[in-house]
């Protein structure tokens, strides 16, 4: 029973364990709270790169640019990377657009 419990805990931790790093803009760049999440894939030790995030409509953000970018990996991604000897390398990206900068009536 206790072995099953231990197994459940380890599995649970394994499935939820992640590692992430987030870059956040200063306070004067307000976030849209419309976080986009995508998985980016690299193949053959980075020789084939995922270019779906370069200068696209959803990263342009109405001309305002990004306000937050977060990269995240997890146990499954690491395992896939190890099993494929580094030829398949997924990573989870999250990003949010910046809102319009503030204007006052006199700015026009």
């Amino acid at each position: 029973m206790s072995r099953n419990l231990l197994f459940s805990v380890i599995c649970s931790l394994f499935l939820t364990a992640c590692s992430s790093t987030t870059v956040i803009m200063p306070r004067n760049v307000a976030q849209m709270h419309d976080v986009q999440k995508r998985t980016s894939w690299s193949f053959l030790w980075g020789a084939i790169q995922d270019k779906r995030f370069e200068n696209t409509e959803f990263t342009n953000c109405e001309g305002n640019g990004l306000s937050m970018v977060s990269v995240k990996t997890n146990a499954a991604f690491v395992l896939l990377n190890v099993i494929s000897l580094g030829t398949v390398m997924p990573i989870r990206l999250s990003f949010d657009c910046a809102k319009d900068a503030q204007l006052t009536p006199s700015d026009h």
Partner: protein, 513 residues
């Protein structure tokens, strides 16, 4: 405007998610996507885009909800129809010109904000006009309308909660019907209406305003709010650890804080944070208003620290082995104290005191907040804290104090409400504790309300018990005044509103506008 079909929406705390038929990100842009050429046109472009979504919803017989920062933990945002992300509607105008207010009103104290403006953005703009919000929640990432509509509060027992500084709201019901609602006394001029709410019907009625300010998206889409700010001030705050045996003497009456001998002369804010498994060190924070001195925004000192995933892991472990919760919470006490260190005095403006407005996921979490008459706080605490030993609770408990709100359905409805909050990781153990909490308070006959924007067990019966039939009926009557037809009443209803018995349709079907 960007539209996504079959969009799966998740709130910031990741405990609510649902799929909507259409997800609209509404911007202050012309229909062709170009930026409008002047300020008023830009303001009205956002309004017109909201109207266009509502028109489409009415045509296609879909329901409509608007969301802001997504900070609420209850299902008030939920719909299967059209969901409008309002965050890009962030124009803020601190200080109204004399032409925009009625004679005798000092427009410089007012701030007009579109619905998606975050509390952080409003604080920043107010500071440039030497103004400040009278109160705010503990964080500043909520949209202003989301914060107000759920009754967000701080711990200002001499002021009230965020809805109390709202003196006007612009409610959009359809592509044609919209209202500018104020209390009995007019604040803005007709010239203001002509520019910022062209064609809106004016309503000057305390009962309508007070019902609409805490209406969780059910009165229509609130496009803008008029805030009454106050001259910029700073908060001098002191944070100390005290044993619960000492602090329990103050939780029912924050007016006698002087006996704690803290360097705070005129307390304006008082909160107590309790780890129910480490009662020898509760965290007491007291603040007072002091004169403003120019300050730079604080910057963090980046280093290594626990990630949001820690919350997730604790939630998982506590679900599987609830018996470990007291041990986990004792381990976490050092982390709590690192997060809430002791200090004698820090002085900063409100906008730099109540921060953390990022949309980075906070980790899967749950939270319940009850409101009770402050005089009953110790009685409640003596039920709640022992309950944590029989039903393990993997979270902390905070006590904050709020003066009675003017909002009809404010959960801070007592002369001074003690708001007791129970934030915790998303876990079966957390849910079990909440169920036991409601049962224990009900069994003890303690009267309490529940924060609309947090997890709750509200239903059509207990809402009437908590607020009385007269109050509930007056809120429904106000809603029916704004939403004149059954079609409109249904447009802005959802499962939450039905569950709490506030979606009553008016008896007479009005003309379709």
């Amino acid at each position: 405007m960007p539209v996504t079909n079959n969009y799966q929406w998740t709130n910031l705390h990741e405990n609510i998610n649902f799929t909507v038929e259409q997800y609209h990100v509404v911007l202050n842009r012309n229909p062709n996507g170009t930026p409008p050429s002047n300020y008023i046109d830009k303001w009205n472009s956002g309004l017109n885009n909201i109207r266009a979504v509502i028109r489409s919803a009415l045509t296609n017989h879909k329901k409509v909800r608007a969301v802001g920062g997504g900070w609420s933990l209850s299902d008030i945002q939920q719909t299967n129809g059209y969901l409008i992300n309002t965050n890009a509607l962030n124009m803020i105008e601190p200080g109204l010109s004399a032409a925009n207010v009625e004679a005798g009103i000092d427009g410089t104290k007012y701030c007009l904000a579109q619905c998606g403006a975050s509390v952080m953005e409003i604080n920043t703009q107010l500071l440039q006009s030497n103004l400040a919000l009278s109160t705010s929640g503990a964080s500043d990432g909520q949209s202003i309308v989301g914060a107000i509509s759920t009754g967000t509060h701080g711990s200002s027992f001499t002021f009230g909660s965020m809805p109390d500084f709202v003196e006007g709201i612009h409610i959009v019901v359809s592509d044609i019907l919209h209202y500018w609602v104020e209390g009995n006394n007019r604040v803005v001029s007709d010239a203001f209406i002509n520019d910022y709410a062209t064609g809106a019907t004016r309503i000057n009625d305390d009962s309508i305003l007070n019902a609409a300010i805490v209406s969780f998206g059910c009165f229509g889409v609130i496009f803008a709010v008029l805030i009454k700010a106050e001259p910029i001030y700073a908060l001098k705050r002191c944070q100390k650890y005290f044993p619960w045996t000492t602090i329990q003497n103050y939780v029912s009456d924050p007016s006698n804080l002087g006996n704690l001998n803290l360097p705070i002369a005129n307390p304006y804010y008082f909160s107590v944070l309790v780890n129910p498994y480490k009662l020898d060190n509760t965290v007491v924070t007291v603040m007072e208003k002091v004169g403003y001195t120019a300050q730079m925004p604080p910057t963090s000192n980046p280093t290594f620290g626990p990630s949001n995933d820690v919350l997730h892991v604790i939630g998982k472990v506590s679900s599987i082995i609830p018996g470990t919760i007291p041990t986990i919470m004792k381990w976490l006490d050092k982390l709590i104290r690192k997060q809430y260190p002791e200090y004698n005095q820090i002085i900063s403006i409100p906008g730099f005191t109540f921060m953390d407005g990022t949309s980075v996921a906070k980790g899967k979490a749950l939270s319940v907040e009850i409101g009770i008459d402050a005089s009953q706080a110790l009685i409640a605490a003596n039920i709640i804290i022992p309950l944590c030993t029989t039903i393990p609770f993997p979270g902390i408990i905070t006590f904050r104090y709020v003066k009675k709100s003017k909002a009809t359905l404010a959960f801070t409805k007592y002369p001074v409400t003690c708001a007791i909050e129970f934030p915790a990781p998303f876990s079966n153990a957390t849910s079990h504790f909440y169920s036991a909490l409601y049962a224990a308070l009900d069994l003890a006959g303690i009267e309490y309300t529940l924060h609309w924007g947090q997890c709750n067990n509200l239903n059509s019966v207990n809402v009437r018990t908590k607020y009385t039939n007269a109050v509930v009926d007056s809120w429904i009557a106000a809603r029916q005044t704004i939403l004149t037809t059954n079609q409109f009443q249904s447009l802005y209803s959802n499962d939450f509103l039905h569950r709490v018995g506030l979606d009553t349709l008016s008896a007479v079907v009005g003309p379709i506008v």
